[in-house]
């Protein structure tokens, strides 16, 4: 059954949890967050459109079940960074089937995705261009022919527009089928004729380091980690980790680990009983020894003081509880 939905979010955690089919954890820049998510599920093709008002980094763990492409939808908007590779308006990113990827924006951003199962993509390739299309194993950028890409964008936008203005029309199976056919064709043309950029060895190496880094963080979800230890556990030097983190996350590993600790402290503060513990104790548990500096940083990051967070009764959205230590 075709379906569609449009939702707006003000809580980043809920937003990340609301992006379906993908397991996402992310971190949004300071400020009042607002995002709109348009989701359209046709019969076999799924698409999403995103409109975010703040820069953010997100790590996406794909299901391994769908071949996804990602692209910028706003012609005046900034380029996106997929695993540190810039995706301009003239390009699309084809993300790996089961490799984690990182999507980073440096300003308010509008972007879209489209996906098919690998089997459907292969079959569509056979029918439309007479050869099978194999899903990527590794995220890379493509530059499709301009006409194919602008047709893809136009169709994508039209479908998004319908979801907002006339969802009941979009829900009609025959309408959905027609749109799906056009979108699939555009997607196949984009993928078929574009020359993929070469993946350099250093990019593969960095991807493996990032994967290893995430494994280490996942293995210690509650525990603060620091640079020196991280380096021994990941098996990568400081400079390699620094290059990788700057490329993928737009911040140094030290900053990343610090944000992670801040988020762990925030979680502990929100869960703690104000009568049994103090901010100092919780801050110390996460390696912060200067309470004054911790409070200032906490407030500027989360918009409230740590003592307010501690006093508030522990009630919070499920999505936050689910989120791991990833900031």
């Amino acid at each position: 059954m075709p379906s569609s939905a449009v939702r707006t979010f003000t809580d980043p955690d809920e937003y990340f949890a609301g992006i379906r089919n993908l397991q996402i954890e992310g971190f949004v820049a300071r400020g009042e967050f607002r995002a709109e998510l348009t989701r359209v599920d046709l019969h076999r093709l799924f698409m999403c459109r995103f409109d975010e008002n703040l820069p953010r980094v997100m790590k996406v763990t794909p299901s391994g079940m769908r071949a996804v492409i990602v692209f910028v939808t706003d012609p005046g908007g900034p380029a996106m960074l997929t695993n540190g590779i810039e995706i301009s308006y003239r390009q699309i990113a084809r993300v790996g089937l089961d490799w984690e990827w990182y999507l980073r924006s440096s300003a308010p951003c509008q972007w879209g995705t489209m996906s098919l199962t690998p089997e459907d993509l292969a079959a569509a390739g056979e029918t439309i261009i007479g050869r099978e299309l194999v899903p990527a194993t590794f995220a890379r950028s493509l530059a499709p022919p301009a006409r194919a890409l602008s047709r893809l964008r136009a169709l994508h936008e039209a479908a998004g527009h319908l979801a907002k203005t006339a969802p009941d029309i979009l829900a009609k199976p025959e309408v959905a089928r027609a749109i799906e056919q056009a979108l699939t064709e555009a997607m196949v043309f984009c993928l078929a004729d574009s020359r993929p950029d070469d993946v350099r060895n250093v990019q593969r190496h960095h991807a493996r380091v990032m994967q290893r880094l995430e494994e280490v963080l996942m293995a210690n979800p509650e525990e603060p980690l620091y640079m020196a230890e991280l380096s021994t556990q990941v098996g990568a030097s400081y400079w390699t980790l620094r290059d990788c983190c700057l490329e993928y996350l737009g911040m140094s590993p030290k900053r990343y680990l610090w944000l992670r600790r801040m988020n762990l402290a925030r979680r502990a503060l929100r869960n703690a009983n104000a009568e049994k513990t103090t901010v100092t104790e919780i801050a110390s548990d996460y390696g912060f020894w200067e309470l004054g500096r911790f409070s200032v940083a906490y407030r500027s990051l989360f918009g409230e003081s740590p003592s307010t967070a501690l006093r508030r009764p522990p009630c919070w959205p499920k999505s936050v509880a689910k989120a791991s230590g990833w900031p």
Binding site: P224, Y226, M227, A228, E229, S231, T232, G235, A236, S237, Y238, W239, T240, S284, D285, Y286, G287, F288, W289
Partner: protein, 321 residues
Amino acid sequence: MPGGGTRTFLEPDHYEASLRQAQIEAVIVPRGRFKARLTWAELHHLQVLRCEEDSSRVAYVQLAPGLASVTFPVGSEALPVWRGREIQAGDIMFHSRGERLHQSTSGPFVWNVIAMDPPQLERYGRALSGGPFSWPAEGRVLQPASRLVARLRRLHAQICRLAETKSKTLSHSEVARAMEQGLIQALVACLTTARARTDGYANRHHARIMIRFEEVLAERLSRPLNVPELCELIVVSDRTLRSSCAEFLGMSPTQYVLLRRLKEVRRVLRDADPDMVNVREVAHRFGFAELGRFAGRYRATFGETPSTTLQRTPGTRFTAT
């Protein structure tokens, strides 16, 4: 369990005893009245010391054989001389296993120590630098980028400040871990990127002579030693011994031997019971035949007469904060 503290000393021996607890053997010969403060912090895999000394002195130091030690001075007007060479403000010294060296200073002076479990340091060193890393066979004076030294100093100072003012915070396992991790990263950055100052053959030769000198001295402290005797025991020419002492200690061998012997006398006088012992007897035991000359030298060195040292009760020479 991590922890830390700070203490002030008026007696070189007590200061030495506290350094010994940190596995540093030191023989300190002060010039003038002695006052020092030791601040220490014990983290999980490393220990941190700050040694603040109010007067100039000569010290013969042996670093912990089981720990990889790094020492560095904190900016002072008069440059200290370590192992016969002036140490510049941004230099750090990466010591060999159980290294023995002379440190001489010509004014108030602060030096810092970071000592770490060697396998841990090597593990972090290799991981963070992504290259080979090992403990040097011979102590090296390193000149890291000023930015890196500044960071190392800042973290070291933070740890010391916490040891002084909030040792309870420091004993929190996670706080100790956070500080330690930061310090390790800064330390490794200094050790793996710095240029090493090369010491010439003559300097290394003189360093060996000075260690031999100390070995001879350790056995012969109770008797006066003249320079020809010393030279024979060390197996060195008079000229080389004199120039080595001038470089390493800033004084003649005779003067150094005298100061070391006076120090021994003082130790005995201080610990002795005034009813059982008299000054003449102790002076004799250490080969000071003329009591008047001995008393004059003693007073010039320590700022009090030998009998004052003997009469004082031990507790009053020691203050703890």
